[in-house]
């Protein structure tokens, strides 16, 4: 999230509108928005219907492993506050890019909490969409 925020301008220049989606309780959303200073819309998918529609995974071994523990330790070292498990602790996230015509052009379903496409990969995909648009493809 921090990387997306830092490179928001680059993403916007390529015509992207960033939307975050969570299945956590709506009551916890304001604290998360304050803590992350996220400027993006935060949608609350309490029933995870959109998670399912986009095929986001649930996995015990994917969600909980040594890397996850290290990641939480690092976040707490950075001053993030542990708020306990909210909702389904096995649910994983992911990323999707939908082009202006409503077609899925990138779909990454995380296998672990840290398994995310790099911002450079997202920018490359968006840049490709811009090139297609320019060429009339």
């Amino acid at each position: 999230m921090a990387q997306l925020r830092r490179r928001h301008d680059e993403l916007e220049t390529l015509g992207a509108r960033i939307v975050t989606i969570s299945f956590g309780p709506a009551s916890k959303a304001p604290a998360w928005l304050d803590e992350t200073a996220s400027p993006f819309p935060l949608l609350v998918d309490a029933r995870r219907e959109v998670y399912r529609a986009y095929g986001m995974r649930r996995s015990l071994t994917g969600a909980w492993n040594l890397a996850t523990v290290r990641r939480y330790r690092e976040l707490m070292r950075q001053g993030r506050r542990w708020r306990g498990i909210q909702g389904d602790s096995l649910q994983l996230g992911g990323d999707a890019i939908v082009d202006a015509a409503g077609v899925v052009r990138l779909l990454h379903r995380s296998a672990t909490p840290d398994d995310r496409p790099s911002v450079d990969t997202l920018l490359e995909t968006l840049s490709g969409l811009g090139a297609e648009r320019s060429s009339g493809a």
Binding site: L4, G15, V44, I85, S89, D95
Partner: protein, 49 residues
Amino acid sequence: MDAHPQVTAALGEPAPPFELPEARGGSYGLGDALAGGAHALLVFLRHYG
């Protein structure tokens, strides 16, 4: 809530539409994200942790 859970997104296929509550108020959907010819980058969080 206007999600379509029976649809599973796939590369190159139309994205499943949705409309969800927005944490700052109101609701927001895929159509809002794409308005004006924008592309949408959907970031599914693991949770608020």
